[in-house]
């Protein structure tokens, strides 16, 4: 069993209400080091067996077609997880 990670972020020019809300709340919790927060998505896809080039290609295509809406989001990364991340 292996895992592929897909990372999606809102496009830089798009206002991100969730990130903004968190950013506004941070000082309440005593955190003042950050000037901006943006919230994106992280997907872990499980694959039975090994990850072939064909499977990775499918993940990349799915990332653009399903996991992200490329009108407002960018796929910033699709990669095979090392065990560590996979287990987490």
């Amino acid at each position: 069993m292996s895992r592929i990670v897909v990372e999606v972020m809102p496009k830089p020019e798009i206002l991100d209400p969730l990130g903004k809300a968190i950013n506004n709340a941070l000082p309440d919790f005593g955190f003042d080091a950050f000037t901006d927060v943006r919230q994106g998505k992280r997907f872990e896809l499980t694959v039975d067996g090994d990850i072939t080039d064909a499977v990775l290609a499918q993940a990349k295509e799915a990332a653009e077609k399903v996991f992200a809406n490329t009108v407002v989001e960018n796929v910033i990364n699709v990669y095979v997880a090392d065990d560590q991340a996979g287990v987490a």
């Binding site: 809102p10 798009i14 206002l15 209400p17 969730l18 903004k20 809300a21 399903v66 996991f67 809406n69 009108v71 407002v72």
Partner: protein
């Protein structure tokens, strides 16, 4: 395969003349408004035909409505997981041939995710779900669903949405305006939509998405107005004309 869903009432059409028209009502898992669209159609003498998301046969309907609600729970993004259902593929083929399609609420979101309408929906600026009644102006009264409104008329429709922030880039927005594709605009832009857009049409004008839901404003006492009824009378007169 066709679905049968029990209705709360029997919407007897005794008092309404049967138009002979048949309109498809798309049902995805998680769709909430199928019964409400059915009620609105029936009250206007239009037969509602349930179209199940796995069907590919549009059953010769005269138009299709994608109701509101939370197809697939709005998981991933509203409309995203419904956008490639077999039924959507059939609807796309129908649209090519000029079929009139309306998406209301979540139905509009499905149409953008399916690429049948431009733009995308983001979370409300408030980052919260919001239920309200919105004053709108009718920007385009030439579609099959807005024919009975006057241009620039101010109307009131209910809006219940968490991802109600319609977004298109500036270039596309200009193009939409130029092609008369903007159908409805908010008087006060509640969730931050580009150019206060509440409804758009495709370039050909046969696919329309309206985020406020006309089906909850068709009967006095059960909604903030009865302005929504005219979406259905519009459909009636435009389709009947073609019959």
């Amino acid at each position: 395969m066709t679905t049968e869903l029990p209705l709360v009432g029997d919407y007897s059409t005794d008092s309404v003349a049967d138009s002979g028209l048949r309109v498809g009502v798309a049902v995805f898992p998680g769709t909430l408004g199928d019964r409400d669209i059915t009620r609105a159609l029936t009250r206007h003498g239009i037969e509602a035909v349930q179209l199940w998301h796995r069907d590919t046969d549009l059953q010769d309907v005269d138009a299709v409505i994608l109701p509101g609600g939370s197809s697939y729970g709005d998981y991933l993004r509203p409309g995203a997981l419904a956008a490639n259902a077999p039924l959507i593929k059939a609807i796309k083929a129908g649209v090519e041939k000029g079929l009139a399609v309306l998406g209301t609420g979540n139905g509009f979101q499905i149409l953008t995710e399916a690429g049948l309408l431009p733009g995308a929906f983001k979370m409300n600026d408030s980052a919260r779900y919001h239920n309200s009644a919105e004053t709108l102006t009718v920007a385009n009264n030439s579609t099959a669903f807005t024919k009975d409104f006057s241009k620039d008329e101010r109307i009131v429709l209910p809006l219940s949405v968490g991802y109600g922030n319609y977004w298109v880039d500036e270039a596309t927005a200009a193009e939409l305006a130029e092609n008369n594709q903007i159908v409805l605009r908010y008087a006060e832009n509640p969730h931050g939509s580009t150019q206060a857009i509440a409804g758009v049409a495709n370039r050909e004008g046969n696919v329309v998405g309206l985020l406020p839901q006309a089906e909850y404003a068709i009967e006095a006492g059960f909604g903030p107005s009865t302005d929504g009824a005219r979406v259905f009378t519009s459909l009636l007169s435009s389709l009947a004309g073609g019959k």
